[in-house]
């Protein structure tokens, strides 16, 4: 709460900026939850697969990076929304 009040002072008199600055933080925080769980699960399972079958490690790694790329896109769109809310 202290941080929010500091932000409120920083942009005193401009309620739209305050609302944008606070909600931008929430936007990114919320956007990071799902992809965080997703990437953790994905990499964990990949490590499991590589440990069980080291000879398939190359293929698993490529597929893992692809999966990470798709999952991570959601978090990154959240980050872009954060930037847009905050600075645009």
């Amino acid at each position: 709460m202290e941080a929010i009040s500091i932000l409120a002072q920083a942009a005193a008199g401009d309620e739209k900026n305050v609302a944008a600055a606070t909600s931008a933080g929430y936007a990114y925080g919320l956007a990071a939850i799902g992809p965080g769980i997703g990437i953790g699960y994905l990499v964990g399972k990949s490590v499991e697969a590589m440990a069980r079958q080291p000879e398939a490690a190359g293929m698993v790694r490529t597929t893992m990076f692809l999966g990470i790329a798709f999952t991570e896109a959601l978090a990154l769109i959240g980050f872009v929304v954060f930037i847009l809310l905050k600075f645009a």
């Binding site: 190359g58 293929m59 490529t62 692809l66 790329a69």
Partner: protein, 253 residues
């Protein structure tokens, strides 16, 4: 924004550069170098004799080509995708050299942290994979994308709009945003810790100065991390391009 007397620079100060002369700034220099360096390196490598064990520049160039062949083309398109190696190789080198100035002193700015380069590259990939689809399958390409085989007839009401949006709109958008947002996030992260270190060292209070060690260590760690990210993003962009092109050339099998 001014929190606890610590001034964070405006976003435009971090990403917009003054023109050195009209229409030509730091981003343009980086893009130009990223274009020239691979051309020169590969031209020199090609001029060396092909017989015997490769060494020096040719050895380096061959290992890069082999990385693209084994790490990207073979993994996604198989042997008949080998013709795409030159395209994917130049794509990879260009994106990597746009990314890596983010951690090179004096440049300190990844050119892909501006939307222009990722957007143009993503649109290029979009045009290429659609063109490949129409070339290999004719008008049947649209059919294989919009009405994937093996789906119950009634589900097409649901599947077709999803495929339409995800293939033709979300693919180029996510390709561009992934590269752009990753590089910009890294850039802003480095700036944040650099500003924090500077503010703590240059502050009025003496007891604050040792605390500057914490963001400094973090800054060094993140610089190392950015080396990895610059490579990984170039690799992911290339491999996704290969997956899209391979998928358009050979429908579900």
């Amino acid at each position: 924004m001014n929190v606890l007397a610590l001034k964070f620079p405006e976003i435009s100060e971090l990403l917009v550069w003054k023109d050195l002369f009209p229409g030509f700034n730091k981003i343009a220099i980086i893009s130009l170098l990223a274009m020239i360096i691979p051309i020169v390196v590969f031209m020199i490598a090609a001029s060396k004799p092909a017989q015997g064990a490769p060494k020096g520049v040719r050895n380096f160039a061959e290992s890069v080509v082999e990385f693209i062949q084994n790490g990207v083309v073979m993994q996604t398109m198989g042997r008949d995708g080998m013709g795409w190696t030159p395209f994917l190789l130049s794509l990879f080198c260009f994106i990597y050299l746009l990314n890596v100035p983010g951690i090179i002193p004096l440049f300190q700015m990844p050119a892909t942290a501006r939307m222009a380069a990722p957007m143009v590259l993503a649109l290029l990939i979009w045009v290429v994979f659609n063109a490949v689809g129409f070339k290999h399958q004719g008008i049947g390409y649209l059919k294989s994308v919009l009405f994937p085989p093996g789906v119950p007839k009634a589900l097409y009401i649901l599947v077709t709009p999803i495929e339409l949006i995800s293939t033709f709109l979300v693919r180029p958008f996510s390709l561009a945003v992934r590269l752009f947002a990753n590089m910009m996030a890294g850039h802003i992260l480095l700036v944040t810790f650099a500003v924090l270190t500077d503010a703590l060292i240059g502050g009025q209070l003496v007891w604050q100065k040792p605390i500057a060690l914490l963001p400094l260590v973090m800054l060094i760690f993140l610089t190392g991390f950015e080396v990895l990210v610059a490579f990984l993003q170039a690799y992911i962009f290339t491999i996704l391009a290969a997956v899209y092109i391979g998928g358009a050339a050979h429908p579900e099998h």
